[in-house]
């Protein structure tokens, strides 16, 4: 794995590179949720739909676990972005 590869963007929404993710794992992050808190990967508008698998691959490699042992981030509502305006109106 070389310099060029580490500059590869993993979380496109927040532009988090592979190197930043590896750094977070070196700091002790062992789950996607922790990596998210440290790097913002997965906090963007797609909420990890694109990057969670990619992050898990790196996690699996660096921590010697299989992808199934890693678990997945808890989905939270809203499952899609919603404009705040839709909440206006009558009870």
């Amino acid at each position: 794995m070389n310099e060029g590869e580490c500059q590869v963007v993993i979380c496109r929404c927040e532009e988090v590179t592979e190197e930043e993710i590896r750094e977070a794992i070196r700091k002790g992050a062992r789950t996607f949720s922790e990596i998210k808190k440290i790097t913002r990967a997965g906090m963007g508008i797609c909420q990890g739909k694109s990057c969670q698998r990619l992050v898990n691959r790196i996690l699996a490699e660096m921590t010697g676990r299989s992808v199934e042992q890693l678990g997945f981030d808890t989905p939270r509502p809203p499952l899609r972005p919603i404009k705040l305006a839709v909440f206006k109106g009558t009870d």
Binding site: R30, S33, I38, M43, R76, K83, A85
Partner: protein, 395 residues
């Protein structure tokens, strides 16, 4: 059984625990930090970054928060890990005259305790924040309120501990605490490791009660849920973080707290809104007694969205992308518990900061490090002493 030896075991790796561990390690004291989950996965990973001094109950807590501000100033220069510290000032929004009366009296008490705060007109408020609605009778303003990134602070403190030679054990919890002759001797972890130690610091947040029980010390901390919504990244619309009067009253008024305790299904929504450096807006919040449930309700999402739009109508065209909830560690009287236990020497409690954890983390770290290093806090903290709960078990 594997063995370790240290001077202090800190139980809990959130903002409070990691701050304490950091301050201890800065003084060259050997420390082992036990965090049962992971980095930023519990309360400290589910809060906003508002460091409001204005929201502290006038009295001991407010005075502590003011000292805490000084401590932040030192910390941000010394901690080599940046945590987006900004002293933006803060506002509490006042919607009508009866709220104004409440706040005038509140501001008076705050001033008596040394806080630089005043009530300003809607016009002045909108000069500071043009997106604010006109439908207010005024706001408070204090130039001292700050914002930070609590996640980066937590990680930064832990990195600081490691740099100073301290030990961080993630995914490890305390199972047993060994006491002999009324004083701390050891901690046994869930992995079967026995740690010989002089001190144990209970910084276990919403689980502080369980840790206290290991040494028969009553630490009555209960979880109180707060739900938060997150928007997409926005242009700068909120230069100043804000609360509203409902938020303050729900927090500090004893009658409001009593009422809330009797109606756990009540959401008790108040405004607590900030914009992060990344551009997202975090807005809450509710106060619910639902045990350890960190779910999100549609009711709360709706209530929070509506409050946001009432005060900042311009936000209606932007999208909510996530909602989450955090559990505030609360005590029956609303004051944190900081100090050495009366029945077990060298068992120090530092928990129950409710919604004040961000503002009080560095100063708590300093206080506890002094208790450990010099046997006494740097200034009197009797109001926060764990002794006040001796003999009053949580029902």
């Amino acid at each position: 059984m594997p063995e370790l030896k240290t001077e202090v075991v800190v139980v809990g790796g959130g903002l409070i625990g990691s701050s304490i561990a950091y301050y201890l390690s800065e003084r060259g004291i050997d420390v082992v930090l036990l965090e049962k989950s992971g980095l930023c996965l519990e309360t400290s990973g589910a809060c906003s970054g508002m460091c409001f001094i204005q929201s502290k109950k006038p009295g001991p807590t407010l005075r502590l928060a003011l000292k805490g501000l000084e401590e932040y100033d030192i910390l941000r220069k010394e901690l080599s890990y940046p945590f987006e510290y900004r002293q933006t000032g803060g506002m509490i929004l006042v919607e009508n005259n009866s709220e104004l009366e409440l706040m005038e009296s509140f501001v008076r008490s705050q001033k008596e305790n040394g806080l630089d705060v005043k009530i300003i007109s809607v016009k002045e408020a909108r000069e500071k924040c043009p997106s604010l609605t006109e439908n207010l009778v005024g706001t408070t303003y204090s130039p001292l309120d700050c914002q930070i990134d609590p996640l980066n602070l937590n990680v930064g403190l832990i990195e600081g501990v490691k740099k100073n030679g301290g030990t961080i054990l993630l995914g490890v919890s305390a199972e047993k605490i060994g006491v002999k002759n009324g004083e701390i001797k050891s901690v046994e972890t869930n992995e079967g490791t026995k740690i010989a130690t002089d001190f144990v610091v209970n910084a276990a947040g919403v689980h502080a009660h369980e840790v206290g029980a290991m040494v028969d010390v009553n630490v009555p901390v209960m979880p109180k849920r707060g739900q938060v919504i997150v928007t997409e990244k926005l242009p700068e619309l909120l230069p100043v973080p804000m609360l509203d009067v409902k938020y303050i009253m729900a927090k500090v008024r004893p009658s409001a707290r009593k009422e809330a305790a009797s109606k756990p299904e009540k959401l008790d929504v108040g405004l607590a809104i900030e914009q992060t450096v990344a551009g997202t807006i975090l807005s809450g919040s509710t106060r619910e007694l639902v045990g350890y449930d960190t779910g999100v309700t549609f009711q709360a999402m709706t209530a929070i969205a509506r409050i946001m739009l009432r005060y900042l109508p311009v936000l209606e065209n932007f999208a909510m992308i996530r909602a989450f909830s955090g559990l505030r560690p609360c005590t029956p009287d609303g004051y944190p518990i900081i100090g050495e236990a009366s029945t077990v020497r060298r068992f120090v409690v530092a928990a129950g900061h409710e919604g004040d954890g961000v503002a009080l983390a560095p100063i708590t770290g300093k206080i506890v490090s002094e208790i450990v290093a010099r046997g006494a806090p740097p200034f009197p903290i009797d109001e926060f002493s764990p002794k006040r709960f001796d003999g009053k078990q949580l029902s």
